[in-house]
Amino acid sequence: MIYPDLLVTFMLIGVMTFGGGYSILPLVEELAIDQHQWLTTSELADIISISEMSPGPFSLNCSTFVGMKVAGFPGAAVATFGFLLLPFLIVLVLAYFYNKYRGLSYVKTVFSVLNSCIIAVLLHTAIKLFSSSVPGLSLSAGKPDFLAWGIFAASFLAMFKWKVNPLFIIFAAAVLGMILYPVII
């Protein structure tokens, strides 16, 4: 029976992954690869590319994929459940207190300062995403990726100015990429 082990491991991973995203990888490496040897280190690259390929949060995708590799469909469900369980309970407690006290003017003051910080964090993420996905790409040696620039500019205008539904933007970008990249690369 691998399931209890899988559950406990992913509960641990879930509670230790802070900030989501790639911060889960060192934990997967240590617990799933080194300790349990469910995967090999070379499969770590697969985990990353699959998790990037599928929608939803990266860390959750990782858990699902590792569970799937280890014990098929039930494994995927157990790993996902384990990963979500403890954060869910912790967030629930915080949600309770947040809703109880958020009306207080003291709490509002502290949150207004925190919100200013978070806007900086978000903008910084946007800059990082931009530099890795637009100027960071090239079509061939030295040639910038015009299509990425174009899609970035068009998506930005579409959302910022014309309030286009973001789901449509994502879908349109995927289709454009699929059709135009093979032509220009």
Binding site: P57, T80, T109
Partner: protein, 194 residues
């Protein structure tokens, strides 16, 4: 900000969370741009400040940030039931898609078209993230609160120069926030004495 809760039903909440999760590529905080657009701008169920506050809480708790944010949104709107619904709705799309992808992994991974689509989607996701964060920044500037703008500028400079862990930024923001609160109370008390 007026809330518009007419369309708020458990089923609709589930569907909205499901769609947001289904269309969020690139992971991490990119989801917040979709959540912001959906819950604040399109539906008007949550106001912009609340969304940021919930994002802050979500970032400072373990687990996937976007799942945590949706749990908070769900709890705020429909209590425990809402929290469960939102967690499930956010976790379900990746679960299903990963299971499908795993079967076709070899094909998909070596398929150029998938790579091209993802490359284009990343550029679009960066643009959406930029749009949301710039809108939020404009809102902040419009409040004309010099202290908050200064906090933002400091945080931005620190992020750009040192690129610290987000948790550290939130912890620092919490300390500054509490100090600011103490300062305000002190000033108010002194004002009362006079």
């Amino acid at each position: 900000m007026k809330y518009d809760l007419k369309k708020l039903t458990p089923l609709n909440l589930f569907l909205q969370c499901f769609t947001v999760s289904m269309f969020s590529f690139g992971g991490g905080s990119t989801i917040i741009s979709l959540q912001q657009e959906t819950f604040v701008k399109k539906l008007g169920w949550v106001d912009s400040d609340e969304m940021l506050e919930q994002f802050t809480i979500a970032q400072s708790t373990p687990g996937a940030t976007s799942v945590n944010t949706s749990i908070l949104i769900g709890y705020r709107l429909l209590g425990l039931k809402g929290a469960l619904l939102c967690a499930l709705a956010t976790a379900l799309p990746p679960l299903v898609v990963i299971i499908i992808i795993t079967f076709f992994y070899e094909k998909l991974n070596n398929n150029e078209r998938t790579a091209y689509a993802l490359r284009a989607v990343r550029a679009a996701a960066a643009a959406m993230m930029a749009s949301v964060s710039i809108s939020l920044l404009i809102d902040l500037l419009k409040k004309k609160d010099l202290f908050l703008i200064a906090v933002w500028a400091c945080a931005m400079a620190v992020m750009l120069i040192f690129d610290p862990n987000t948790i550290l930024v939130i912890a620092a923001g919490l300390i500054v926030g509490i100090l600011y609160l103490v300062f305000l109370i002190y000033r108010q008390k002194r004002g009362e004495k006079k």
